[in-house]
């Protein structure tokens, strides 16, 4: 069942910029016409970093920003291993083999008034376009982002254009000292209709536990190793409790964004 946007395309790199310690923003021609196939924040692109067999599998990177007029997209990524290192060596003008946008992003709730966005580390990028779209729907947006240290803090000013941003760092080098969950007190959370989280698994787990206590509904964007990105290898599953049973659902196809209530951590 084609959802509309999945497409395999060779697109041009518009720009590649270093925006933090080993963190890059890569802007691309969009593989699809974004006005015809509007993408959901939380969806991802599945990128071939070279055509060499050394990097046989594609790398999933979340959509971060969109330029509807130029039909450009950007992703923000950290150099994690050899594949992202190779990607970081690419320059404007080079051609990239891109599949996507793929997956289910964050659903829309038009009647909500106040959204809480929670991001950790390299999980922050998808929140940027999410914040923009939520503001477009006239919701208020408050974002809480956590980083290891100041040098890794990214996209804060972008997020500030859509509403207040609370920054937390593990070492206190920027904003509050501690973890994002330290900010998520009952009083703080009382004002929101819903939350939207993306970040490392331990953070998601802590956020889920904390916010289910305060009975705040929300969404988690999960990260699993992916093969195909389109649902045919069944490599990327996560335990999801749905319709009274726990199933291993594909994060590339049924996710990566799931209703926080459904996500089972083991």
């Amino acid at each position: 069942m084609r959802r509309g946007g999945e497409k395999l395309a060779l697109v041009q790199i518009i720009s590649q910029q270093s925006i933090g310690a080993d963190i890059f923003e890569l802007t691309l021609e969009a593989p699809v016409d974004l006005r015809v196939f509007p993408y959901e924040p939380g969806q991802f692109l599945h990128i071939r970093v070279t055509d060499s067999f050394d990097f046989l599998l594609r790398r999933p990177l979340s959509l971060c920003k969109v330029d509807l007029i130029k039909n450009h997209l950007s992703v923000v990524y950290r150099v994690q291993g050899q594949g992202t290192r190779r990607l970081a060596a690419k320059r404007a003008g080079e051609i990239l083999d891109v599949l996507g946008p793929l997956g289910h992003g964050y659903p829309k709730h038009k009647d909500d008034r106040a959204a809480l966005l929670i991001g950790g580390g390299i999980g922050v990028p998808p929140l940027v376009e999410l914040a923009r779209q939520l503001r477009q729907d006239a919701q208020s947006v408050h974002t809480v982002v956590g980083f290891q240290t100041k040098a890794q803090a990214i996209l804060v000013s972008e997020l500030e254009t859509y509403g207040p941003v609370t920054v937390v760092t593990n070492d206190g080098s920027l904003g509050n000292h501690g973890l994002v969950t330290d900010v998520l007190t009952q009083a703080f959370c009382a004002d929101f209709d819903r939350y939207y989280a993306c970040g490392p698994t331990p953070m998601l787990q802590a956020v889920q536990r904390r916010l289910s206590e305060w009975q705040l509904p929300g969404y988690l964007s999960l990260e699993e190793r992916m093969g195909c990105g389109i649902g045919i290898c069944v490599g990327c599953v996560h335990k999801i409790s749905r319709n009274g049973r726990i199933a291993q659902l594909k994060t590339c196809k049924e996710g990566p964004v799931f209703d926080a209530q459904e996500v089972v951590f083991t």
């Binding site: 395999l8 046989l56 599998l57 649902g231 045919i232 069944v234 490599g235 599953v237």
Partner: protein, 294 residues
């Protein structure tokens, strides 16, 4: 050109092209009961290949019949081959019995070679007596041709092939994955949650070509070549080694269009080389030189 077990049940790839363009489709391993598969991580990238330890996740034969096969029936020119797995001969027999009641199934592929399940199918794939017993049992209940998928994790694949042929197999497909492991040296443990996984992709192609060459020289039933096919030229290589058809696995993960691209490339190669039918290519590499089997 048929596609292999790395295609789920076809729905996803149908979003990219018309499945009628395929020679056939081999759906994901189907077991008697639903299986959740192994823990994650289930995938790792290796030099020119990948490891997987999916662990036969599938909804079980009844739901496959009810929910998946009807979808594929809309493709009128697409023979559907169901890959069958299990842990005991009785499981296999029951699955095949159920599938034999369904018109939509063109053939059964017996997966006696999956390396990813505990006490799993691979015993059948490494013991020729057990394999032969299995094939005989299945042939009694199957109403469609039975293809036996062989494991490369054996000392002598020819012996296995001959045993399956004698037991009544209608065709053989090879190879399944080789058992491998990758270690995450930062975490100091195997990267896959399951420890070991199945190696596939271009890295294994030379092993697969060798086995297809040897097996097709030793049996009289058709051999389907599998292992690391990425381009049309790779398909030509398998055909020349003696395969009558090929399956494409890992390539689909890299390129959703892989199967139809490879079909097109194969056609273009034949045109450029004055080959009118791929049949001319089958076993073409065997003529001139005797090959030493060591």
């Amino acid at each position: 050109m048929p596609a292999s077990g790395c295609f789920a049940f076809g729905r996803e790839v149908a979003a990219f092209y018309d499945l009628n363009r395929l020679g056939a489709i081999v759906v994901k391993a189907t077991t008697l009961d639903e299986r959740q598969g192994n823990e994650t991580p289930r995938l790792a990238e290796t030099p020119a290949g990948m490891l997987n330890s999916i662990g036969l996740q599938n909804p079980g034969v009844l739901r496959v019949i009810d929910e998946e096969l009807p979808y594929l029936q809309q493709y009128d020119r697409l023979p559907v081959i169901v890959n069958v797995a299990g842990t005991a001969i009785e499981d296999y027999v029951q699955v095949v019995e159920r599938l034999s009641q369904v018109n939509a199934v063109a053939a059964i592929e017996l997966n006696i070679s999956c390396p990813n399940v505990k006490c799993g199918g691979i015993q059948f794939g490494t013991d020729k007596q057990m394999a032969a017993n299995m094939v005989r049992a299945i042939k009694q209940v199957a109403k469609v041709p039975v293809i036996v998928k062989l494991s490369p994790n054996v000392t002598d694949i020819v012996e296995m092939a001959v045993a399956c042929e004698e037991a009544g197999a209608d065709a053989l497909s090879l190879i399944n994955t080789l058992i491998g492991m990758q270690i995450d040296i930062e975490k100091r443990r195997p990267l896959l949650a399951n420890g070991v996984g199945g190696l596939s992709g271009p890295a294994v192609k030379p092993i697969a070509v060798r086995m297809v060459y040897e097996v097709s020289s030793a049996v009289n039933i058709p051999v389907i070549g599998i292992g690391g096919i990425m381009f049309g030229a790779d398909a030509v290589e398998f055909l020349m080694a003696g395969a009558s058809a090929v399956q494409v696995g890992t390539a689909n993960f890299v390129d959703p269009f892989a199967c139809v691209r490879i079909i097109d490339e194969l056609g273009a190669w034949c045109d450029a080389h004055g080959v009118r039918s791929v049949i001319e290519l089958i076993g073409a590499a065997k003529g001139e030189r005797g090959v030493v089997r060591s």
